[in-house]
């Protein structure tokens, strides 16, 4: 009896220690970035582009990287959302046999697991084939879209699975077609999944560095067309960190601070919107 209680106590202690480590690591990351990033943050650094020696310790800011990141992640999320909602609705039993839709789900799961650097290499290969060097906004968007499609699709798919079958049957019994049922009934019922998926995908897209690093190149100005090179927040952090000057390196923490804040904001918005949108869901 005593031994069993002792085992219980020991493992409870280990569990508490692990939870402490997990929570502690997030707290550590946030405090390290905030403490190091906040001092180098200023209005000037947020509202100017990095022309004129941002990497050399002179003035300038990283507005071009913020704009570049948004120009990469927003279109990619839009495209991935359009693809995701079409696929997720099509994976239902009404349209596809379960054996085929399970195969597609497996493909999507593999796509989810594929490291983002592989998508970068894929786009880089195509760029080499068509003779484009340096990088472009377009291929960055393609890489991020590929990265986000499985995330958004699977999230919508999971919430479509939760839609009660009776709801679908009553839509059919009122004479609506498959497509109408999918677009008007199922899509609205799956709204929490759609919101969570899109925001999750956007957060992943804006923070991903490996695919961007290989495809978009770098620039000190705003991109003016989709074949331009562009700066982005994650790649700018990598560039700044590799500089020898300590003052310049400190700017990396300011960029990371902005990136972390964007990601935290997305996570808060996700929680709020999912809660709000699941109010009107019929269970």
């Amino acid at each position: 009896m005593n031994r069993r209680n002792l085992e219980e106590k020991i493992f409870l202690g280990l569990m508490l220690a692990s939870v402490f480590i997990v929570m502690g690591s997030l707290i550590l990351i946030v405090t390290v970035i905030v403490l190091n990033g906040a001092p180098s943050l200023s209005v000037q650094i947020l509202t100017q582009t990095s022309e004129g020696g941002f990497y050399l310790g002179a003035g300038g800011g990283f507005l071009n990287a913020i704009v570049g990141s948004l120009l990469l992640a927003l279109p990619a999320t839009g495209l991935a959302f359009l693809a995701g909602i079409a696929i997720a609705l099509y994976l239902q039993k009404d349209f596809l046999r379960p054996s085929i839709s399970n195969f597609i789900r497996l493909c999507l799961d593999i796509m989810w697991g594929v490291p983002s650097v592989v998508y970068g290499v894929f786009c880089l290969t195509i760029m080499i084939v068509i003779g484009m060097t340096g990088g472009s906004l377009l291929f960055g968007i393609i890489a991020l879209t590929l990265l986000e499609i499985p995330i958004i699709t699977r999230s919508i798919d999971e919430s479509i699975k939760m839609v009660p079958i009776g709801l679908k049957e009553s839509a059919y019994s009122l004479g609506s077609t498959k497509f109408e049922t999918a677009m008007k009934v199922i899509r609205k019922q799956a709204m929490p999944g759609v919101i969570a998926g899109v925001l999750l995908g956007f957060g992943r897209g804006i923070g991903d560095a490996a695919s961007i690093l290989l495809t978009v190149g770098d620039s000190n100005y705003f991109p003016t067309s989709i074949s331009d090179q562009t700066a982005a927040l994650p790649t700018m952090i990598l560039n700044l960190v590799s500089m020898p000057d300590q003052v310049v390196q400190n700017k990396a923490y300011a960029v990371a601070f902005v990136l972390l804040m964007i990601v935290l904001l997305i996570s808060i918005i996700t929680r709020y919107l999912t809660k709000k949108s699941s109010k009107h869901i019929i269970k």
Partner: protein
């Protein structure tokens, strides 16, 4: 019939819009000399023309919508196979140049003299992934058990957002923190403690540590899902026989949710195996097998990140990097298939 007049008014407007768009397309062609604008307006005109003469019934709408969904689904699956095809096609060059065994078993990576031995990099990748999983699996499982079974409700509500946020932190931020916290810590304290005094702090162990932290949220959230789906009756049966809470966890919950835990570990492995940026920032980027865990190394994914800039000057290097990407892809593919098969068999055997 009000609805009929309404629709005829709408049709008239659409016809007007069609004529206007035809007019605009001519203007953009002859006055502005802009072909893209011309094409856009012409397409708009054709759509409006078709819309005016074909009656869009609900059946047609249904057929069109379904075809569109089929098209999107098929093209994404096509993209998936295109990805594989492009990677295989790209790595043919290097495989023609050197044999597969030479690539995998030689450990000299010198792109400038045409040597692309991946042995050291593969060994480093295995070491880093193994250590990070050794750290991450017990900690994540214990945390997940605590959150699912022991934690009071208030604490649960606090920690769930923590894990979601940790899962969303960009990898470059993890890398930056590792650079700032782990590198000095390992250089000054941990490496000397284990007797390796010349460590620079950049090395396999540093990479493993940060990878373990990155893997925590994946394993925890997936394990939580499967722990929460264990029926309460099963737990109550065990507790009513006099088992302690930990014994219930060990003998009932772990067994009942075995497949889910396995799947979580597979996914975590995939993340650790393919993580690029955070690793390349702290691993030291040298293609050799270090003598101690604190020495510098290189993983498959970070090899791509630190060599891609030379691609335009050495053409065969591009092929070598595509081959490395192919290895990453195939390993993830195999692990996913294995996980899928194991889960399918296991969920039959472990059925309760």
């Amino acid at each position: 019939m009000p609805s009929n007049t309404q629709s005829s008014v709408l049709k008239n407007k659409l016809l007007l819009a069609g004529i206007l768009s035809l007019f605009l397309s001519f203007i953009s062609l002859f006055i502005f000399n802009n072909f893209i604008l011309f094409a856009l307006f012409l397409i708009l005109f054709i759509i409006l023309l078709v819309y005016n003469f074909i009656k869009i019934t609900r059946e047609l709408y249904d057929a069109l919508g379904t075809r569109l969904m089929l098209f999107v689904t098929a093209s994404v699956i096509f993209l998936f196979f295109l990805l594989l095809a492009v990677l295989i096609n790209g790595s043919i060059n290097i495989l023609r140049d050197q044999s597969l065994s030479e690539l995998i078993l030689s450990s000299t990576w010198k792109p400038f003299s045409g040597e692309f031995g991946l042995f050291a990099v593969i060994i480093d990748t295995l070491i880093v992934t193994a250590i990070s999983m050794l750290i991450a699996i017990p900690i994540s499982l214990l945390s997940a058990i605590y959150i699912a079974e022991y934690a009071p409700k208030k604490f649960k509500n606090i920690i769930r957002p923590f894990i979601d946020v940790l899962a969303g932190v960009p990898s470059v931020v993890f890398g930056l923190c590792a650079l700032l916290v782990f590198v000095p810590l390992i250089r000054d304290d941990i490496a000397p403690f284990f007797g390796s005094t010349i460590s620079s702090g950049f090395g396999l162990f540093t990479a493993s540590l940060i990878l373990a932290i990155m893997v925590f949220p994946i394993i925890i959230s997936l394990c939580l899902e499967s722990f929460n789906s264990v029926p309460v009756a099963l737990k109550e049966a065990s507790l009513s026989l006099g088992a302690t809470k930990w014994e219930t966890v060990k003998k009932v919950i772990f067994r009942a949710s075995g497949p889910g835990v396995l799947a979580a570990i597979f996914l975590g492995f995939g993340r650790a195996f393919g993580e690029t940026i955070a690793v390349s920032m702290v691993i030291g980027n040298q293609e050799l097998i270090p003598k101690s865990l604190f020495g510098p190394g290189q993983t498959l994914a970070s090899l791509i990140a630190s060599n891609y800039t030379e691609v335009s000057s050495i053409p065969i290097l591009a092929s070598a990097l595509i081959f490395v990407a192919l290895i990453l892809f195939v390993v993830v593919l195999i692990f996913n298939l294995l996980g899928y098969l194991v889960l399918r068999r296991a969920s039959k055997r472990w059925a309760y």
